[in-house]
């Protein structure tokens, strides 16, 4: 799956501006994470049709990037995420970042994972039948 990342300067109201743009494009955010430093931040979102949204944001002077990530289901119970991560670690996978969200209706937790080595991840997904 492609995650949409947007570069944000640390200025007042900048995050709201970008979120307003997404609202204007009628885009629903399924998952979101915000990485921040002193001077800038990176907004990462999972949305429908990320390529299309990326093009629209670019038109409005946003710096965007589409990054391949995995969205994996995790049992919504203690140790759920840990047991899955243990498998990935055993396969030599390095996680760059991750964030989680819960879908209420299904009572299902999901994590968005960005890894360094895509091929290793693909093998691991097959091996453990992750989805």
């Amino acid at each position: 799956m492609l995650q949409l990342s947007v570069f944000l300067e640390n200025t007042k109201g900048r995050l709201a501006e970008v979120l307003n743009l997404l609202a204007e494009f009628n885009v629903n955010i399924r998952a979101l994470s915000l990485a921040d430093t002193k001077d800038y931040g990176v907004l990462r979102v999972i949305v429908e049709n990320p390529e299309e949204v990326a093009a629209k944001l670019k038109d409005r002077n946003c710096v965007v990037k589409l990054t391949p990530v995995w969205v994996l289901k995790v049992p919504d119970k203690p140790g759920g995420l840990a047991s899955m991560l243990n498998k990935l670690v055993a396969e030599g996978i390095v996680v760059e970042y991750m964030y989680a969200f819960v879908e209420r209706e299904k009572e299902q937790a999901q994590v968005v994972i960005r890894v360094r080595d895509v091929e290793l991840m693909q093998k691991a997904i097959k091996k453990y039948n992750l989805e």
Partner: protein
Amino acid sequence: MMSQEELLNGLRRTVEQVLKAPYYQKKLAEVGIHYAGDIKTLDDFRKIPLTEKEDLRQNYPFGLFAEPMDNIIRIHASSGTTGKPTVVGYTREDIKLWAKIVAKGFRRLGITSKDVIQVAYGYGLFTGGMGIHYGAEELGAVVIPMSGGNTAKQLMIMRDFGTTVLCCTPSYALYLGESLAEAGISKDELKLRIGVFGAEPWTDKMRQEIEARLGLTAVDIYGLSETMGPGVSLECLKGVGLHIDEHFYPEILDPQGNPLPEGEVGELVLTTFDKMGFPSLRYRTKDLTSITYGTCVCGHTGWTMQRVSGRVDDMLIIRGVNVFPSQIEEAILSVGGIEPHYLIIVDREGPLDVMEVLVELSDASFEDEIRELEELQSKLRQRIENITGLSAKVRLVEPKSIPRSEGKAKRVEDRRKGKI
């Protein structure tokens, strides 16, 4: 006072000397000057095309030297507009002449062999340190070759060695003044009486502040490596301006290159007399000032220039170092994926100049991992430091966030103006 004939003789000697460099032979032949004797009047001299930093760049490193390398005993350099520095060379006689010129200016300030002179200009390719050093030795004074930095030690030595004359950039002088309390030294313990400050623009407000903090009389010294180094002109204690030494012929030109009358502000163009290794022929300083001719009560007769009021190009002087926006551009473009949209913000934090460079991110340079963005920032910082020799803060900003006017982005925001 120099007669018209003496002036023309001096100019002819310089033309004869520069004609030893093939580049000048060609350049002067284009305006019909083949021998020094072709300069019969001042108007003939004014036909000679101006020399610029670009001429030095094209002849990097030694192409404009007028003496064989065997006769050159010292090299100095300053930053060029891009990449390579501009290089100048001195013969033994040039070094002696330079020392004499500095010593003469110092004598007018009442500095003698009894003085203890602390040189806190940088020693190195920059002309400040060694230029003042040799002049102070010529005077027979006690010279303390401190070079720049190491503030606590500077102050300790200033007190313990009884320094009477301090030479450095005005911003460093101010910093030394502000650091006194921290070093546990009071102004009254110091024997300072005169400060000779230059290599960067400064204001009267700054002068008053330095004088109050260090308890000395502060004077302005002017020079540039392309025409020699510090000492081209120096204030006396009468405060009427900077007296230009008799080894330099100044012209003030308007933007079209026409001579301006006395007292009018334009670009200072300098020609050297009797400098052999690297004679300057109508060298464009890019500094804006005005000149007047006359005799001062201090004993100087000749040209006097006013404090430099600005630049005709976009050169910045940051902590005494010349920086061109084109250098910053070269640095950031050497990092892949960066577009030439940037803004240089220069500010003064306390007494120190700080440079921040805003760089617009593009889709090509944007990575969504903070680690990679931080690597990009540090790479940019490194390149800027490699090229300019100055540390800078780099801030990544969004595209089109840097104001553009008529298609051309504004390159520099100097916030030091109005600050002391």
